[in-house]
């Protein structure tokens, strides 16, 4: 059968009710949307992705140093918890610094402070108030760790 077979020929083998059913379903198909309308874009999605990426990078930087003390372990746990809250528990980032434990600690402190600043900045521009609150709280948590003896 040719691809352009008229609709009447296709329907000729059908009973009357089948013809109506098929015509109705054809009409329904014409009226139905061709696909599910896309969900409205989340205006904060890019911001969430950027925050999660920064947190994941910080966590990746810390992972090689996890044996160097509970402070580092606590930070890893903090960032893991924050990624989970952001819905990005498996986000990954680049690796950590080399060098001595002391030098790494100084770098970690500087990077953590930068992360706190970034999270505060993102909180400042988030469209959603609850997201702003969450990011500000994350920033405060990181600042708390840095002030508590990491530096």
């Amino acid at each position: 059968m040719a691809a352009t077979t008229p609709l009447a020929i296709v329907l000729s083998a059908c009973s009357g009710s089948e013809v109506h059913d098929r015509l109705d379903s054809g009409v329904d198909r014409l009226r139905a949307p061709r696909s599910t309308p896309p969900a409205p874009a989340n205006p904060d999605q890019k911001l969430v992705d950027q925050a999660a990426s920064a947190i994941a990078s910080m966590r990746a930087m810390l992972l090689p140093h996890r044996s160097e003390g509970t402070v580092v372990t606590d930070l890893i746990n903090l960032h893991t918890a924050h990624l989970r809250v952001l819905g990005k528990p498996h986000a990954t980032g680049a690796g950590g610094p080399g060098g001595s434990a002391g030098a790494a600690k100084a770098q970690i402190a500087a990077r953590e402070q930068s992360l706190a600043t970034l999270l505060a900045t993102k909180a400042g521009v988030a469209q959603d108030g609850d997201l702003a609150r969450l990011l500000a709280s994350m920033s405060a948590a990181v600042t708390q760790r840095v002030a508590g003896g990491l530096a």
Partner: protein, 138 residues
Amino acid sequence: MSTSLPSQLQTALASEHAAVYLLAAFISRTSPGRLADALSESYDFHRAARDLLAERLAALGDTAPPGAAPAYDMPALSTSTAVSRAALALEQRAAAGYADLVAGTTGADRTQAIAWLSATAVRQLHFGAAPADLPGIS
């Protein structure tokens, strides 16, 4: 946003009045030392926050911002540990208030609230708090 900006700021100002009153009382019951220093730092911070909020409300045209109450419920302050615990509770309430202010504001008001949230999270450490995953929220 369900609450107006002046209302959010008024709530914050009322909390700062209470904080200033209570911290002054805590200081008066504390001998010189690390705890007294931490209380003084906290007092200065909340007094400055109170004044900033009052100025902001005045700039918004609020002619009747909330004033200080004649008195506030005073926790038991029989020992330095009790004072420290009361100060920590005060800072935790402040953190929750600042977090609400972050959620309910935009622009410079939100930026200010974000900074206050971080600062109060750090001060909680001075009063014996363990670091939290989400200060002001949990």
